[in-house]
């Protein structure tokens, strides 16, 4: 945590503003210019995981609530989007060869002859958008309220979220007539008549995704800089003290858990749009834990670190698995252990302890010596 002066409250101006501008420039300008559309689309996919990682920074890094079930919310958000897209792709003309035209193909294969009632709202785009945010958040609220009101925390909470992720996966796979089962929902084609598979659509979706991510980061920065952010840290360190300072701790935990869930859901929805399908393999335990890795590698206390973590780990995964598929798990496992044991604050921690102290010295070299002030800021030489 950076220190501030008492008179000037922490805001997201200053260091965070620079970091924000750098990141925005990177994902809005550098990537689109430097990468072809195929790689850019991949980066877009990585960035959808960054939504989850940013949520985890608030929830886990600041709040100390380790959720091993963020895949639940990523998946639910993705499924809500995929349901809308699937219905659009399943127009009676497109599905004329089915026994029941007009319903998604997997329903037809499973002898479902009528659209289930809970699918009906997904015919409407506005309702689907609402569902993307509401369904995962409501689900998070139920889990959060049940657990935090009863002061379940730490390892117990982690295991229970993990169990919920397992349950949801089994449920989705088991109810394939309604969910597409293990295949998931595939072959999503158009959004309100606009073909999302074309290169131009992918480019536009990339920018939509990037802007949404920047928006989410702004929200996260706002939360972090508000008193709420300091309360999260306080709750992580001394939960009882917060309680005896007159706060209903459970409500704060529920809120941050719901917020992280909502972030993840946006990421999931953007994933479904950019990749063109959704499958239960994002809901389960393994992806949920991987998302924690992204956050841990980037730095659990740094919102920007989490974004870079998601980008880096996924980039490494793609390159590693292209050239040395067999080594990938070794690398991933090793990375995990190394980060946890040696660099608990991840890349952001390394940046802060090793790179940042060098900056003032660098600045000093760049400036004429006469103007150098505030020597106290520079490290001892």
């Amino acid at each position: 945590m950076s220190s501030t002066t008492s008179a000037a409250p922490r805001t997201f101006f200053g260091k965070d503003a620079i970091a924000f501008i750098v990141l925005a420039a990177l994902i809005l300008v550098v990537f689109p210019v430097a990468l072809d559309i195929f790689r850019l689309n991949l980066v877009g996919k990585y960035l959808t995981y960054a939504f989850v990682a940013v949520g985890l920074v608030l929830c886990w890094g600041f709040g100390g609530i380790l959720s091993l079930g963020q895949g639940i919310f990523f998946g639910l958000g993705g499924y809500c989007m995929a349901m809308f897209l699937k219905l659009e792709a399943s127009s009676p003309e497109n599905t004329a060869i089915q026994s029941t035209p007009g319903i998604p193909d997997f329903m037809d294969w499973n002898q479902v002859t009528e659209l289930p009632w809970w699918w009906v709202p997904f015919n409407s785009f506005p309702l689907a958008l609402i569902a993307i945010l509401l369904v995962p958040t409501a689900f998070a609220y139920v889990i959060g309220a049940a657990m935090f009101k009863r002061r379940v925390g730490g390892v117990y909470f982690a295991i229970i979220t993990q169990a919920v992720a397992a349950i949801l996966t089994i449920l989705i796979v088991g109810q394939q007539g309604y969910t597409g089962g293990i295949n998931g929902m595939t072959d999503l084609r158009t959004l309100l008549g606009w073909d999302i598979r074309t290169d131009s659509a992918k480019l536009i979706l990339y920018f939509v995704n990037a802007v949404l991510l920047l928006g989410v980061i702004l929200i996260a920065l706002f939360v972090k800089s508000s008193k709420f952010g300091r309360l999260l840290i306080a709750m992580r360190d001394k939960e009882d003290r917060v309680r005896f300072s007159g706060y209903d701790v459970a409500n704060f935990k529920i809120f941050v858990f719901c917020l992280a869930a909502a972030f993840s859901a946006i990421g999931g929805a953007m994933f479904a749009l950019q990749v063109g399908f959704m499958s239960p393999s994002f809901v389960g335990i393994v992806p949920s834990i991987e998302m924690v890795i992204f956050c841990a590698v980037g730095g659990r206390l740094s919102i920007f670190g989490a974004v870079y973590g998601a980008l880096l780990v996924n980039y490494a995964k793609t390159t590693f698995s292209e050239s040395f598929p067999e080594l990938w798990l070794f690398a991933m496992g090793g990375l995990f252990i190394a980060v946890v044991m040696a660099f608990p604050n991840g890349l952001a921690g390394i940046w802060k302890s090793h790179v940042e102290p060098l900056l003032p010295r660098l600045m000093k070299r760049l400036r004429p010596p006469a103007i150098v002030s505030a020597p106290t800021k520079a490290p001892a030489e």
Partner: protein, 421 residues
């Protein structure tokens, strides 16, 4: 893995390759392709910018080398590499050597889609041999259709699909099911069936077809049950089977669940060699028996198009070449053989079309025959599936099957079977 598949183009074990090559003349696969080569300029055979040069052509191999599916897909990778090496040794395709780029789907469907796209968009491969599970195929299908690629898919599967961009070298459900049930009814006098499967689309669709077929014959299905993938406790269903006393257990359990199911079946006192009940499976190949253990499987019947023990010259040469390339201890299952067909069918189609262009290969594909297939003669149907025979294998103690029956004619593939949907 002692015999890890090569990771990049051309990392061959020379000694093994030579050993594998030695068996080729017996296959009679040296066609006139070498003569063909000189008359085909790259500009003429490749009008769509695929990765084809004057000397070589690049294809993709896309299977899971890591994750849970690696267990099943390893054999397919080995078969495809073997086929490519044999084709190269025999002069290649249109005079060009085949290079392959192998990508790992990592048992993760989105990864499959991502890698498929990479192979088509970035590497511009002329065709892809790959996928194993239906889920991975469903994930890559839109990619192949959008970027007009060609996929050779080796696994027996549920049907209900007929993509112009896929050649299905395994059987679709009716090919595997109908004749098998006919056989068990006709020769074993079976009257009642218990249907059991892992909980996903292939077992469910297959059992749906099986149930329709059984009921059309006026026979009875006494139970139908599905368990989550990777479930390991089957005592409850075994108890139900004991209670309902079916003549046939029709089992479509996949993956690690298989091991648990057959071990627990044996431990519960159901001796498959007594055939009371008889067990007929369409999901356990020789590959799976490695994990299950021959002693737990002996006596069961399997309905497939290929068993390693098929007696014909093609198969003998194939098995010898496979063992020479990948080691003596290896077994070859139905899907492995189907995967082996992929490169050969593609080669035949390319040579028929006289071009690597995907559209021309697609046009040329229906009617392609392969007399040298290890399973015997196969032919590509207009619907992109293969005409093939169905065989019934009887599991031996050593993990192999004895072929006890084979259909007289090739079975017509029918991915959208009327009356079974």
């Amino acid at each position: 893995m002692t015999d890890a598949p090569a990771n990049g183009p051309y990392t061959l074990n020379r000694r093994k390759l030579l050993a594998a090559m030695a068996t080729i003349p017996a296959l009679g696969m040296l066609g006139g392709s070498r003569a063909f080569a000189q008359d085909t300029s790259t500009a003429a055979v490749n009008t769509t910018g695929l990765a084809v040069t004057d000397t070589d052509v690049t294809v993709g191999i896309l299977h899971s080398v890591t994750g849970t599916m690696a267990i099943s897909e390893t054999g397919s990778v080995q078969a495809e590499i073997l086929a490519i090496e044999q084709i190269n040794a025999a002069g290649g395709v249109l005079g060009r050597q085949i290079k392959y780029i192998q990508e790992d789907g990592a048992s993760d469907w989105p990864t499959f889609a991502e890698k498929a796209k990479k192979l088509l968009v970035q590497d511009k491969v002329a065709s892809v041999m790959g996928c194993w599970t239906s889920a991975s195929r469903k994930a890559v299908l839109p990619v192949f259709e959008q970027y007009n690629g060609m996929l050779y898919y080796p696994t027996f599967y549920e049907g209900l699909e007929e993509s112009p961009n896929v050649i299905y070298t395994g059987q679709e459900a009716t090919q595997q099911i109908l004749a098998g049930i006919d056989w068990v009814v006709d020769t074993k006098g079976a009257k009642s069936f218990y249907l059991l499967g892992s909980d996903y689309i292939w077992p469910r669709t297959s059992n749906k077809i099986a149930r329709k077929h059984i009921e059309m014959k006026g026979l009875k299905v006494v139970g139908e049950e599905y368990y989550p993938l990777e479930h390991t406790q089957f005592n409850s269903v075994i108890n139900k089977i004991k209670l309902t006393k079916p003549d046939v257990i029709y089992a479509i359990v996949v993956g690690g669940s298989n091991v648990a199911f057959y071990k627990q079946l044996k431990a519960a006192g159901i001796d498959l060699t007594k055939e009371a009940p008889l067990l007929l499976t369409i999901s356990v190949t020789e590959d799976e028996i490695l994990g299950i253990g021959g002693e737990n499987m002996v006596g069961a019947y399997a309905a497939m198009k290929y068993f390693q023990s098929i007696e014909n010259d093609n198969n003998k040469a194939f098995v010898d070449a496979f063992k020479a390339r990948w080691g003596d201890g290896i077994v070859i299952g139905d899907v492995t053989q189907a995967a082996y067909l992929g490169p050969w069918l593609w080669k035949a189609a390319v040579e028929k079309a006289g071009s690597f262009d995907v559209d021309k290969v697609r046009e040329a594909s229906p009617g392609i025959e392969l007399a040298t297939a290890p399973e015997g003669y196969v032919k590509v149907h207009d619907n992109h599936h293969l005409w093939s025979k169905l065989r019934i294998g009887h599991a031996r103690l050593d993990g192999q099957y004895d072929v006890v029956y084979e259909t007289a004619d090739l079975m017509e593939p029918d991915p959208f079977p009327e009356g079974y949907q």
